[in-house]
């Protein structure tokens, strides 16, 4: 049986009124005559647990066992259209559509069962795919029986009601992940694991730097190798072989000369470059009058924050296998955006979208980096040319070169407090990161928030000419930088006023939900903590992202001799509404915090103009086991609210929580991420030589106080 469910308009529209889920010819779910339920979804599995959580939503609303569900994800021929898997949208945005479709299917099946059993709908109950008359378990009919024979074309003239959290059997539980067995036995298939008879492995010639133009090309030596096929187009030069190592050897024989690009920024000069080149500001938010308010502030704070480029560095590099047959292109691709990839491939190949199929196997990590699908286009173009199946699997060096990095960014904040110790004015300017994460949790009467150097926060916007190479969405795009800056600034003010940072935040909050989350974290963490010394310190940060409230507290140890920061413990409390899978949610929190240690402490792309100097994990340092703190992820119950996003909120707090803890530990304020040991040492040295009270290193940090008024600020 095929259940085709028309969605009501509210599910078809995103917040901005953009079309999110069209009515689609593809079905959301099919119930087989054997009772198995196949679910079709455009949301792919990249480690975040969407395979399991989506199945749980269907099992709950349809009234079947989780074990009876088969998931088909990211197959453009079979799944309903979807814009892509990013932005913590799966549960928050697609979840309601999937749940509604399942609930509607249940209503259809119950209606049929009622006719079959001769009882009104109200008297029926469903359990594990079996519809029975309440109190008369012998009078029953299974979904499998109902689905036998005729295809259901009936439209039910009433809208199914979603199940209430109090009645959940499957949602709200943490079954073993559906991909567990295949992942621990090595049978899980990723894009580079797909094999087709006669397939060739391609290696693509890359320029030495972004912006370089090819002057000459000589492929004769490569052509001399047995079994090598060379493809040379203006913009695509590749060598192909039945063995990937032979393809790699052939590529080494390709000779090309290049005109160098003129780009010059490096990791230190990029900030001036961005500020100079970023076009005018877009006003993100404004209320009150920051200029007037600032003038009446008893103390003002002006700070500049910076962060370098960060790589996605998923452990699986971009890979695709393309097969062109009978005029139709099929591409297995590691992509977060199968439907946009289908469109991109169709355009590149001059085919209609109907003649392109993208199939998405499991992804070995995405984090936004696999929203870009260059490898799928390369494989498809090569397969169209050579007419045999072609695999393109980027090497780690290619992955670093072709990545769409999290952009370097700058934030400048000027803020002021009144004599009650409340934040009065907040003037915020962000360059290159975009505006996500700039919305304040705090009740500040006079605010002005402006953003420059990023035309669009739309997912999928991958490049701006501001940068010497491509940038794009990176887990919590923009918000990592913005929350680092804003939550550091809050701490700077609290410290200047000698108020406990938790107390200072609560004083400036009116949002009860945030206060509740902060207090929940504080309870578990044991805030305020007193036992200090030995370079230990404690920090906190909070934010709202993807509808989720998160508060994070951390303990760090700063080694004043080496500048190394050891993160001892992190507690993270999160209110994400109804939780579909609590263990899955905790795994996302833990994973996000671990990943966040990277951009906070060790990850900063090295480059010279358009040349990417990091080529592997020897120079680019990911967080390791030895860097892992004890992480306690806690979910603050909130069943009043529909499920919210969970893939990104926790990581967004990492920069600020660690910077704030480092300040507490060592008395130095790190204003640039990552907080590399030499930057910590420099800050410590600067503190030692600076007059009392000033405690900041690069980039800039000023506190201006009117002593007569500041003296009257009450302390907590």
């Amino acid at each position: 049986m095929v259940v085709l469910v028309s969605m009501t308009p509210e599910f078809l529209l995103a917040d901005e009124g953009k079309r999110l889920y069209p009515e689609d010819f593809n079905a959301y779910l099919v119930i087989g005559e054997n009772g198995r339920v196949t679910v079709f979804s455009g949301k792919i599995e990249m480690g975040q647990g969407a395979l399991t959580s989506q199945a749980q939503m269907v099992a709950e609303e349809l009234g079947v066992q989780l074990a009876s569900i088969d998931m088909v994800l990211g197959d453009t021929d079979r799944c309903p259209w979807d814009m892509g898997t990013f932005g913590s949208l799966t549960t928050r945005m697609f979840g309601p559509a999937l749940r509604a479709a399942s609930a509607q299917a249940r209503l259809v099946l119950m209606t049929l069962a009622g006719e079959r059993l001769g009882v009104p709908l109200e008297r029926l109950v469903v359990r594990d795919g079996l519809v029975s008359v309440a109190g008369e378990p012998n009078r029953s009919v299974s979904y499998a029986e109902l689905s036998r024979g005729a295809r259901i074309t009936r439209v039910v003239d009433r809208k199914a009601v979603l199940r209430a959290a109090a009645d959940f059997n499957v949602m709200g539980t943490s079954p073993q992940r559906l991909d567990a067995l295949e992942k621990v036995t090595g049978t899980a298939r990723y894009a580079a694991d797909i094999r087709l008879p006669g397939m060739l492995y391609a290696r693509v010639l890359r320029p030495p730097m972004h912006g370089a133009a090819r002057l000459t090309l000589d492929t004769s030596a490569a052509e001399g190798l047995a079994g090598v096929t060379v493809v040379a187009r203006d913009d695509l030069v590749a060598v192909l072989h039945a063995d990937p190592e032979s393809a790699a050897k052939a590529l080494e024989l390709v000779r090309a000369t290049w005109r160098q690009s003129a780009a010059t920024p490096d990791p230190d000069t990029i900030f001036d470059h961005l500020i100079a080149k970023a076009a005018g500001f877009t006003e993100v938010a404004a209320s009150g009058d920051t200029v007037v308010a600032q003038a009446s502030a008893v103390q003002s704070f002006e700070t500049t924050f910076q962060k370098g480029y960060v790589a996605h560095a998923a452990l699986e590099t971009h890979a695709a296998l393309a097969d062109f047959r009978d005029g139709r292109m099929t591409v297995w691709a590691s992509t977060q955006t199968p439907f946009p990839a289908r469109a991109g491939i169709a355009t590149a190949l001059g085919l209609s979208e109907a003649n392109v199929r993208v199939i998405t196997p499991l992804l070995g990590g995405g984090f936004g980096g696999k929203s870009a699908f260059g490898q799928a286009v390369e494989a498809a173009r090569l397969a169209q040319i050579v007419r045999v199946p072609v695999q393109v699997a980027w090497t780690r060096a290619e992955e670093f070169f072709n990545d769409t990095f999290d952009p370097a960014a700058i934030v400048k904040i000027t803020s002021g407090v009144d004599r009650a110790g409340k934040v009065l004015a907040w003037d915020y300017r962000v360059y290159a990161a975009g505006s996500r994460g700039t919305t304040l949790s705090y009740a500040i009467p006079n605010i002005r928030i402006r953003s420059a150097g990023k035309n669009s926060d739309a997912p999928g916007a991958t490049t701006t000419d501001l940068h010497p190479f491509a940038v794009g969405p990176w887990r919590g795009p923009g918000a990592n930088m913005n929350v680092f800056a804003a939550e550091s600034q809050i701490d700077i003010m609290a410290a200047a006023l000698k108020v406990d940072p938790l107390e200072f935040r609560i004083r400036n909050l009116t949002d009860a939900r945030m206060i509740r989350v902060l207090k929940a974290a504080a309870r578990v963490f044991g805030w305020p903590t007193v036992a200090k010394g030995g370079g230990r310190g404690y920090g906190l940060a909070c934010c709202i992202d993807a509808g989720t409230y998160v508060a994070t507290m951390a303990e760090v140890k700063v080694d004043a001799a080496t500048g190394r920061i050891a993160v001892v413990r992190i507690v993270c409390a999160q209110d994400m509404g109804i939780v579909v899978n609590p263990e899955g949610a905790r795994m996302q929190i833990e994973g996000g915090l671990m990943m966040g240690l990277g951009y906070a402490l060790s990850e900063e792309l090295q480059f010279r103009g358009g040349e990417i100097l990091d080529r592997n994990f020897d120079s680019y340092e990911l967080p390791r086991f030895s860097a892992a703190p004890r992480i306690e992820a806690m979910l603050v119950p909130n069943n009043e609210l529909a499920p919210q996003g969970g893939g990104e909120p926790a990581i967004i707090t990492t920069g600020a929580v660690l910077a704030n803890a480092v300040f507490d530990a060592a008395g130095v304020r790190l204003l640039r991420l990552p907080m590399l040991p030499d930057r910590v040492l420099k800050a410590i040295a600067a503190k030692g030589s600076a007059p009392t009270g000033a405690h900041s290193a690069d980039p800039t940090h000023q506190v201006r106080a009117d002593a007569s008024r500041a003296a009257r600020i009450p302390s907590a």
Partner: protein, 158 residues
């Protein structure tokens, strides 16, 4: 140099006529169809390609095929005994010690070799042994918990 190379692979004999300087990773993935062993960096840094040779964890991306001649190679596909999962596989599944799963084969092979040598390691020893296996998804805490849980089973078994 073309050579005829024989070894034990997951308990069964394997024989190949091939260039003897090819890396085990690509022979496994291409010639032998065992794709559970992953490419992550190709330079011995990430550990995604870890297999065991003679019971010791090695990086197959840096192991020429001639080095395994006459030896016993175990890949992730050979870690379970038939349908019975290795205790580490069971523990990884139970602890949710993976997200994307791309590092998982290497983690399991590295941990299995380690526990064979050192059945009751301290948590610190687990951390330091696993430190050169990278996980981008941040499953570290659960991976250590999973390995520790198996080590503890070792400790309590007679």
């Amino acid at each position: 140099m073309k050579a005829s190379i024989k070894f034990q692979l997951n308990g069964k004999p394997a024989a190949l006529d091939t260039e003897d300087d090819r890396m085990l990773l690509w022979v496994l993935r291409t010639d032998l169809g065992l794709t559970g062993t992953k490419y992550g960096c190709g330079e011995g840094i990430c550990g995604a390609c870890t297999v065991t040779v003679g019971g010791k964890a090695v990086r197959s991306c840096r192991t020429p095929i001639r080095n395994v001649a006459g030896k016993e190679v175990v890949t992730i596909e050979g870690l379970a005994r038939g349908d019975t999962l290795h205790p580490l596989q069971q523990a990884f599944a139970e602890h949710g010690a993976f997200q994307c799963g791309f590092c998982t084969s290497g983690m399991l092979m590295s941990a299995s070799a380690f526990l064979r040598e050192s059945p009751r390691p301290s948590r610190e020893a687990v951390v330091s042994h696993m430190d050169h296996n990278l996980c981008r998804c941040g499953a570290h805490q659960r991976i250590v918990d999973a390995i520790e849980s198996v080590a503890i089973q070792h400790g309590t078994s007679p």
